[in-house]
Symmetry: C2
Subunit: 490 residues, 2 copies
């Protein structure tokens, strides 16, 4: 597909239109927003065959996986639509104390949308975290307009998806500026988008380098704006001794399945596996090696990722103390990713920043500790993560309270006896974590609480009832839960 980078003039027009449309779209009712999200879902479903075929061609991902990802994308859109009606995210609150002496004003508060949101989609989820993905859906639910910068690795998928959304916007009688789609392969396009005065927030899923650049551009604006960048994660897995003794074979099986899933291209891939040296640890390494050597190589998302994966796998072997545990069943296709597992001592891992960075692809590191203190030393040194996983018995979890406490301060999601891949879409999910996993650990990118990213509170003091937003009117016409004088009412 022939991509033409957006010019500065075009971006000016796009943001101007987004800002104009925001003044209409911010006042839509929750039902109207739900209708828009459902219409997008319906049109995507109708375009399924074509969308999957185009995405398969552009991303090399298998059609089964892409169909599942499209299901998830549609589910997300419907979930955010349902959340619009439930209205928890509005955090409507009313304080009126008629008996107060001296008299107090009536204060009502509501979360309102920030303004136009610029979304940079991911390469590894062409549907669920791209053009019609979680960032777009949650921003539209919040009442924000959206400008997408298409990912250069799947421009045609992005274009076709954008057509579905634009058609849904038109069908719902909303201005075209509610959703717009631009191309940009150069950094300059990203900079113009982030630094345009009308841009109110940014969503991003990708590399640390890319995300941090957006954060820095946003901070350098006259008016700094929030950037929600998900930037990668090691997703450490800590295996406690007794559990290891009892279940090393099952653990090995789960971990190899998880780190090679989708050719290791998930943000929640376990990139480091940590245990204490023991006979069971050796058995685990043997199992991990045997299973890794059976993994068939498969195409990575695009040539850039394949080249950098290959380079990283070569460079890591030059690091002190590194030895290869196993490699997968290699192919001759230069675009393929071949599974690779290495082994290193905790001392070597702790003293080498290179080993503490994500290697995107079917790669993981087994880190061998001498004792429990080294487990804690790793938990202390590790930077912010999307997830942290503990394999242990319940008794061990209690015994290792200090280790858990450190891991809690480093992660957005803690997993007990399971793998970090697989992110449920539900209200309780937190997909986010301390820097550098994301740029803002206070928010998440999955589930209805992701809407909160694109909102801010506005209080109305002594405002006439009939002119208040419906969410705050005395009779509660939206029938949403609200706080009244500090207590929840439903």
């Amino acid at each position: 597909m022939n991509i033409i980078d957006a010019s500065e003039v075009l971006i000016e027009q796009v943001l101007e239109q987004s800002h104009d449309a925001f003044f209409t779209y911010r006042s839509t009712t929750p039902s109207q927003r739900k209708q828009l999200l459902s219409t997008i879902a319906k049109l995507i479903e109708e375009a399924r065959v074509e969308l999957v075929a185009v995405a398969a061609k552009e991303t090399h991902l298998p059609e089964t996986r892409l169909n599942n990802e499209l299901n998830r994308t549609i589910f997300q859109l419907e979930s955010y639509g349902a959340a619009c009606l439930k209205g928890y995210w509005m955090e409507a609150s009313i304080d009126h104390d008629e008996s107060a002496q001296p008299a107090k004003p009536t204060i009502r508060k509501l979360l309102i949308p920030l303004g136009p949101v610029v979304v940079f989609g991911s390469s590894n989820f062409p549907f669920a975290y791209s053009t019609a993905g979680g960032d777009t859906a949650s921003a539209l639910a919040a009442g924000c307009t959206v400008v997408i910068k298409a990912h250069p690795a799947h421009p045609e998928t992005s274009s076709r998806m954008a057509s579905c959304i634009a058609e849904a916007v038109a069908l719902c009688g909303l201005p075209a500026g509610v959703f717009q789609h631009v191309f940009g392969t150069s950094h300059q396009v990203g900079k113009w988008l982030v630094q345009h005065p009308h841009t109110a927030a940014v969503g991003f899923t990708g590399s640390f380098t890319g995300g941090k650049q957006l954060v820095d551009w946003a901070a350098a604006r006259h008016q700094p704006i929030p950037v929600f960048a998900e930037m990668g994660s090691l997703n450490p897995v800590f295996i406690l001794p007794e559990k290891l003794n009892r279940e090393y074979a099952q653990i090995a099986n789960q971990l190899v399945g998880s780190y090679t899933l989708g050719v290791g291209q998930f943000c929640t891939k376990p990139g480091v596996i940590i245990g204490i040296e023991s006979p069971a640890w050796t058995f685990l390494l043997n199992e991990l090696s045997a299973l890794t050597s059976q993994v068939k190589s498969a195409p990575l998302l695009h040539e850039g990722i394949a080249a950098s994966y290959k380079k990283n796998c070569e460079e890591v072997l030059l690091q002190p103390g590194v030895r290869v545990l196993a490699q997968g069943n290699s192919s001759t296709n230069p675009g393929d990713g071949n599974a690779m597992m290495i082994h290193v001592s905790a001392d070597d891992w702790l003293s080498n920043k290179y080993l503490q960075a994500e290697n995107f692809g079917p790669f993981t590191i087994a880190v061998q500790c001498k004792n429990a203190e080294q487990l804690i030393a790793i938990a202390k040194q590790i930077e912010g993560q999307l997830t942290g996983t503990i394999y242990g018995t319940e008794e061990e979890l209690a015994d290792y309270a200090l280790l858990i406490s450190w891991i809690e301060t480093r992660c957005g999601r803690l997993i007990f006896n399971g793998v970090p891949t697989g992110v449920e879409v539900c209200k309780s999910m937190q997909h986010g974590g301390p820097f550098p996993a994301t740029s803002d650990a206070r928010f998440g990118a999955v589930g209805e609480d992701a809407i909160r990213r694109f909102l801010r509170p506005l209080a109305y003091q002594n405002w006439p009832d009939s002119l208040l937003p419906a969410a705050l009117q005395e009779k509660n016409p939206l029938t949403i839960p609200r706080f009244v004088n500090g207590k929840i009412h439903y």
Copy 2:
């Protein structure tokens, strides 16, 4: 009082101790945090006479006002204590669908404290927004430890307040690192505090220059951290024609009382009053002048503020189109602030950035518009504000929907037929607003939602019930409201 700036070595020790204490304090129960906040309130009450005397000497504020502010400070501490027990702010959420095929993990989510919080108190509220003020109280409620940098304009007040807090921490059997107090008159101390790796968040109330500097230091860290800086506001007041016709005298009375309250040293002082030229507007100006000329001058907080107020009042007269409407009843005391009101046309105001910046003290500008379009032009051009006020009839509010819409996008609180000074402490209050009024419009500094600033979500997947935080355990031992499978349960 003899102030010695903290050294880098001392700050290293302080933050190390704060971080150590955080690992204890983060695990305290809501009752323990409530107990701490109540004990602080009790000790402050016991020290009232001394605290008020010291603060009066250091800030030149009258004792009546200081006693009222101390009441508010105590009320805030008790409110945050009560909020600890209510537990809304934890946003506890559980998703477990036992009937799901294939089986789904159980996910539970809770907001957890960020870590050590550094608080820079304000000069204008030596009690309510300083050492034991809203930032400290909400951070302690969240489970964060606190390091205060004493405001150089009231070091002795700050020290005595800090003693009350430290004594309360000890009485509650908590580590001394939960609350610490340092001095710093140099910028370097602020930079060390903000850039220390253990610092997890910053609270600030003061000038734009000071706040923006902290924001920039925080953004330049290896790991950027949130800064909640409240940095001043013009608090525009828009007066619609029919209301003006009917009530110009009452409006003038309210506005002069508001802009000169506390010698104009409130962050919510109405700094610009906007109306459309008409006979009633002329009557309003006459009333404002008459009332302003009767205002007695009074001491400003400190010499620095007095000098810069005097300089601003001289410079503003050099701006094109500016004429003095009235000045207050001046004294010969060089530390006093004399009320001053100027008049300018909307054209002159719109074309002059100097007039659009806050002048801290008993000063305001009347801006005369030719028509309704100029009201909108001002609302469009104005930067982010803590508050926006509309005087109008209900019919006018409906007629001026576009103006209101613009003001909504610029403010954190909208006031109808009242003055912006006077900030109720309640859940529905929003004290915050778009940049540059604050550095993060998504949060506020007053009311229990201020706790949310110092928290982030953590999800637990398949975690054993007995090892979960109490807020997430199956039997809900804290009896807090929680979301279960996406619906609220109480």
